[in-house]
Symmetry: C2
Subunit: 136 residues, 2 copies
DNA sequence: CTAATACCCTATCGGGTTAGTAGGATAATA
DNA sequence: TATTATCCTACTAACCCGATAGGGTATTAG
C-alpha cells in the first residue's frame, strides 16, 4: 500500500508543477485545493524541502515553490524521499541493501528472483516519469 | 514492503514445488528447512489451503502438498491471497476498487496516472511467473 | 482401542508504524 | 510592530504485523 504521506506529497508537487508562475503557494491554499489536512501537509512539504525538492518563503505572500524544473524531477527521487526504498524486500534494494537472516542463498531464493523483476520494472517507470508528465 | 507472511508463503510453496514426490510434507520439516517460526508458518499454510492452493493430510506421515501442478500456479494468485491487492492504491485496483474520498477526478490525478502504470507492470510479471519457474 | 502425530482454529499481545494534532518558535513583510 | 506563514518538536489514537499460546480434531500405527 502507498502511504498517504506519499500520496499527498505527489498531489502537492503536481499542484505546484501545474502553477503558471513560480510564486510561492501557501500550505493552506494547497491543502484546500487537494483536500489534505493542513498540519499533515505541513510536515510533508517540510521534508520535501529538506530534501531539496521545494524551496520556501516565510511571511506574507510566502509559501512553497518548486526548486527545479518539473521535467527534471523523476519520480524515483520523490518516492525514495516519501515512501522509502523502491524495492519490496531489502535484499533486492539498490540503495538500502540488507541480507535476509533466514535466507542462506539469494541465488536460489524464489522471493529474491521474483522481487528483482518487480524492482527493475518499477524502477524503470519511476525513472522515466517526471513531475512534468504527471502534471499534464 | 513485502510482508513476512507473503515472503514465507512463497518460500514454503517453492519448497513444496521442488519436492520430487507429491507426498505431504509436515509444517515442522518446512519450518526447519526454511528457517520459519513453526506457528507462524502454520497459519500461512492454513490460509493457502483454504484458498485452494494446498491440500493437507492429518496424522502420522501427514503434512501439506500442492494441489495443482506448479506451472499452473501464477504468482498473481499467491500474491492476492497472502499480500492482498496488487495495486498500491485502491483507486487503481482491478479486484478491490475503491474511490478516494479526497480525489474529485481520477482522470487528472497524478497518483492515479502513475500507479496505473506500476500496477500494469507488476501484474504482467506476477501473471507470467509461475511457481514452477521460481522453483528452478 | 489407544496413544502418538500433525493439522485446525481462535484468541491474544508486544512493538512498531501511520495519520493526524497541538502548540509554540522563528522569520519575513506590510 | 502586528500580521502572516513557515519551522520544529512532541504527542497520541488507531492500526497492523509478526509471533505465541493453548487448546480441538482427524488420522494412523501398534
Amino acid at each position: 500500500m502507498l502511504s498517504k504521506k506519499t500520496k499527498y506529497g505527489i498531489k502537492a508537487l503536481t499542484y505546484l508543477a501545474r502553477q503558471d508562475s513560480k510564486n510561492p503557494v501557501s500550505i493552506a491554499t494547497i491543502s484546500k485545493s487537494e483536500n489534505i489536512s493542513v498540519k499533515f501537509l505541513e510536515s510533508i512539504l517540510l521534508t520535501l524541502k529538506k530534501n531539496g525538492i521545494l524551496g520556501s518563503k516565510k511571511g506574507i505572500g510566502g509559501g512553497y515553490y518548486l526548486i527545479k524544473n518539473p521535467k527534471d524531477v523523476p519520480m524515483t527521487t520523490v518516492m525514495r524521499i516519501l515512501e522509502g526504498p523502491i524495492a519490496m524486500v531489502p535484499c533486492v534494494s539498490l540503495n538500502y541493501y540488507e541480507k535476509c537472516d533466514d535466507c542462506p542463498d539469494e541465488g536460489t531464493c524464489a522471493v529474491h528472483k521474483l522481487m528483482i523483476q518487480i524492482r527493475d520494472n518499477s524502477l524503470k517507470i519511476f525513472r522515466n516519469t517526471t513531475l512534468a508528465e504527471l502534471a499534464n
